[in-house]
């Protein structure tokens, strides 16, 4: 089985950080990939009362058959309190049932706007982009209609840019007061950005990204160095607690025993359980 210990991968830390940010008793609209894993971890640790909503239409599934490979797969339906389709999920979100949207992204700017569509010049090269990403999926909708959003992504300088190649999912737009409301968007906007290096929030007035906590091994300077724009610094930047043994065991043994989604340290071994 797995040898739990003090060693862990940045991806494990990322998932654990995502999990800890989630509050018990809240309704979380869960995006695909990292948010699914973090939500499952939160439910199995400090926040068993989280209600997960999946964009393919399931509300609050039991999630007892293993980690879904898709936000629409069979594992999101079993034991659910409601299952319809995409329209129903997004309509509930527009109505206000989802406290948090939890979503990944490829590129982010200081105001929490996200890009998951393309790299290259927009609009000129839209039909022939340098790199074509998958597209919005439900990310734009979550950003438009969830009450708050939590963003989760690897912390790399090329992903944290002052100006995005393309805005897929609106954050605080240009950061001006009331910009979201003026645009017709619902919800208060981005709440946290969870990365492999830090927990970031947003300044109440300027809506610019602000460093709140550093991941183990990181400093304010190292986080800033990995960020393509200037971060605001919270007056009380704290160190984020490293993973607990329980959290690591839960990821490695229960949630993702095959390491399909979350990379384990080299020496963490696992039997074939799937």
């Amino acid at each position: 089985m797995i040898i739990a210990g003090t060693e862990y991968t940045p991806q494990e830390m990322l998932v654990i950080a995502g999990s800890r940010v989630l509050e018990n008793g809240k309704v979380v609209f869960v995006g695909t990939g990292l948010p699914m894993i973090a939500t499952l971890l939160a439910r199995k640790t400090h926040a068993p009362g989280i209600t997960a909503v999946f964009e393919a239409g399931a509300v609050d599934p039991a999630l007892e058959s293993g980690l879904p490979f898709s936000v629409g797969d069979s594992r999101t339906s079993s034991g659910a309190s409601y299952v319809r389709g995409l329209n129903s999920a997004f309509e509930m979100t527009q109505r206000g049932f989802c406290d948090f949207g939890f979503v990944g992204g490829a590129e982010i700017d200081p105001f929490g706007n996200l890009n998951s569509t393309m790299m290259g010049k927009f609009p000129e090269d839209y039909m022939k982009p340098a790199t074509r990403l998958p597209g919005s999926g439900g990310a734009s909708d979550m950003a438009s209609s969830c009450e708050r959003t939590i963003l989760i992504m690897p912390h790399e300088r090329r992903r944290f840019n002052k100006k995005l190649n393309y805005i897929t999912s609106p954050g605080y737009l240009d950061g001006s007061p009331g910009a979201r409301k003026k645009a017709g968007l619902l919800g208060k906007g981005p709440y946290r950005v969870i990365t492999t290096k830090a927990i970031l929030g947003f300044d109440d007035k300027t809506h610019r990204m602000k460093l709140l906590q550093t991941m183990p091994g990181e400093t304010a300077a190292s986080v800033q160095a990995a960020t393509g724009f200037e971060l605001l610094m919270d007056p009380n930047i704290t160190a984020f607690d490293p993973p607990t043994e329980t959290e690591l065991r839960m990821i490695r043994e229960v949630i993702d025993p095959l390491g399909f989604f979350v990379k384990k340290p080299q020496k963490a071994q696992v039997l074939y359980q799937f």
Partner: protein, 331 residues
């Protein structure tokens, strides 16, 4: 404003002129594809990413060959990979002109090398939307209204390159987006169960399948099993699509494979991965590996049944048993 597929007026007229009576609509997949899909059509792809994708129908379309197609979907994985792959390796036989969509990739199974190959070379006309935008567009079509109001894609660059219009809400004075209805020429869907008339039961997420069926001028349904009408209608509220929204019903067991189908089979992850490994050669302009796949699995077989026969029984049973574990409380 331009419309792809049918305009709202045309969509209404097509339905008015149609025989909507409860008829036996069983046929072969080849007959259905021949009868209802034409070059240049806008075809809606059912399912969601790699859930209940209409793979059998896509294979049949690829064997048939089509030109200048438009495909509309919220999120697609293997269905679009198969269709796009056909265009990549045999553009004279199968070509896509345009896609209206929100997402083309594979979630946990990664990006789509096919999509990257086609898009980054400018081979497709793109209209990006969000998942809800596309779903609401089909829903508007299904409801017989020319648009629906939504919040997304306000504040996003999606707005700049799509046909959505922003208006001031006459009741609240705040901006809201109107997304235009989508009325595809044909919807292709895979479901768990249908009767001979086309009534369909969907298990798990219905994705946007009912809306597509209602919005499209014609709908081709493949299903795991056809059961008698009297059995299907014992619990009428199980029915997600009524017969008059369906034109062809084809029993195709494992018709969504290697994608998943609740109560029947989970993903064949290895096959999806191997397809992607072959497709990655496209980015180096090497079409041979993917062509070999099509030769073996699509062009080299008569029908989807023969495609399924290429898998060892034990592998097929593995996906079946994986899926059985996904809802053990049911049993």
């Amino acid at each position: 404003m331009f419309w792809t597929g049918l305009t709202p007026d045309e969509a209404r007229a097509a339905l008015v002129d149609k025989d909507k009576s409860r008829r036996d609509k069983r046929c072969t997949l080849k007959e259905a594809v021949d009868a209802f899909i034409k070059d240049g059509d806008n075809v809606a792809i059912g399912g969601f990413v790699n859930i209940r994708q209409p793979i059998a129908t896509c294979h049949e379309m690829i064997r048939h060959g089509f030109k200048d197609m438009t495909f509309s979907f919220q999120s697609s994985g293997m269905a679009m990979d198969y269709l796009g792959g056909a265009m990549a390796i045999a553009p004279d036989h199968f070509s896509i002109r345009r896609i209206e969509f929100a997402y083309w990739a594979h979630e946990s199974f990664g990006l789509s090398p096919v999509f990257r190959y086609l898009a980054e070379r400018g081979k497709l006309e793109l209209e990006d939307w969000s998942n809800y935008n596309m779903s609401a567009r089909f829903k508007a079509g299904a409801m017989g209204v020319p648009f629906l109001p939504t919040r997304g894609p306000l504040g996003s660059d999606i707005l700049e390159k799509c046909r959505a219009k922003v208006m001031e809400c006459p009741f609240t004075g705040t901006p809201i987006v109107l997304v235009p209805a989508s009325h595809p020429n044909v919807a292709i869907l895979h479901v768990q169960t249908a009767d001979q008339y086309g009534n369909c039961i969907i298990r798990g997420t219905e994705a946007t399948c009912p809306e597509m069926a209602m919005a499209a001028a014609h709908t081709i349904v493949t299903c795991e099993q056809i059961v008698p009408h009297e059995l299907l209608t014992r619990k009428p509220r199980d029915i997600a699509i009524p017969f008059f929204a369906v034109d062809a019903v084809v029993q195709v067991p494992f018709g969504a494979y290697p994608t998943s189908c609740r109560r029947h089979y989970y993903f064949n992850k290895e096959h999806i991965a191997s397809f992607h490994a072959l497709a990655k050669h496209l980015t180096m302009e090497d079409k041979k590996p993917l062509t070999a796949y099509y030769d073996d699995y699509i062009w080299g077989v008569q029908d989807f049944g023969e495609f399924i026969d290429t898998f060892p029984v034990r592998k097929i049973l593995e996906e079946y048993h994986s899926e059985m574990r996904n809802f053990e409380k049911l049993m």
